[in-house]
């Protein structure tokens, strides 16, 4: 069965420091991969998605970037964190076929101080 791993679970970083969050999927090949952010409250905002190695689509221009160096690895990065980058970051995957449900990792709670 497929599993998705995301780490770290929590992170406290000072303003101006770099960020790297990693997500890997097991048990499937060529998945679609996604990074979401959930700010305080409820809304989920899609940040990036990828349909293949090296293919990244950005939904929201901001201080973050994403990379997909391997088929089942998705990385969210920042060179310099802002206070507004605080939030709950969720990686997700779905099959590349149509009508495929979305499955989330356990998330990373990021606090920028």
């Amino acid at each position: 069965s497929q599993t998705i791993h995301q780490w770290p679970a929590t992170l406290v970083q000072p303003v101006g420091s770099p960020l790297s969050l990693e997500c890997t999927v097991e048990g499937t090949s060529n998945p679609n991969l996604y990074w979401y952010r959930q700010a305080a409250g409820r809304g989920l905002q899609l940040l990036f998605y990828s349909v293949g190695i090296g293919q990244i689509s950005s939904e929201v221009p901001q201080n973050l970037s994403a990379s997909r160096p391997q088929d089942r690895q998705f990385i969210l990065s920042s060179k310099k964190l802002l206070l507004s980058d605080s939030g709950f970051y969720l990686c997700a995957w779905s099959s590349g076929s149509r009508n495929s449900p979305l499955h989330f990792g356990n998330g990373t709670r990021l606090t920028v101080t």
């Binding site: 989920l44 899609l46 709950f88 149509r98 449900p101 979305l102 989330f104 356990n106 998330g107």
Partner: protein
């Protein structure tokens, strides 16, 4: 873009009660999913249901695409059902353009 409204925003019930959560959307969709976010933040996919009815144990969902709404039914609620329930919709069949609702926060009291 497509608008998604969930109701009620908050719901408090005794253990054993039944509940109905509603998701209205403003345009035709080919993708509709229900998720449960537990108090620890974990998001679990409950149903992929752009139309029709599905059941999984005590949970069932019905989407009436022509009338632009979906309902999630929870029967015999348990405390583990607490959390926030989201619906997400998209006009395409893929997940690249999903719009999430703001959720219904369900609290089950023992």
């Amino acid at each position: 873009g497509i608008q998604v409204e969930q109701s009620p925003p908050d719901l408090i019930l005794q253990e054993g009660a039944n509940s109905t959560l509603r998701c209205n959307f403003s345009d035709s969709v080919n993708n509709l999913q229900w998720f449960h976010q537990n108090p620890w933040g974990q998001l679990i996919n409950l149903f992929y249901i752009p139309s029709g009815t599905k059941q999984n144990g005590r949970l069932s969902a019905t989407t009436v695409a022509t009338e632009r709404y979906s309902l999630l039914y929870i029967s015999s609620s348990q405390t583990t059902d607490s959390g926030v329930y989201f619906c997400a919709v998209g006009m395409g069949r893929g997940n690249e353009k999903l719009t999430f609702g703001t959720g219904t926060r369900l609290t089950i009291i023992p």
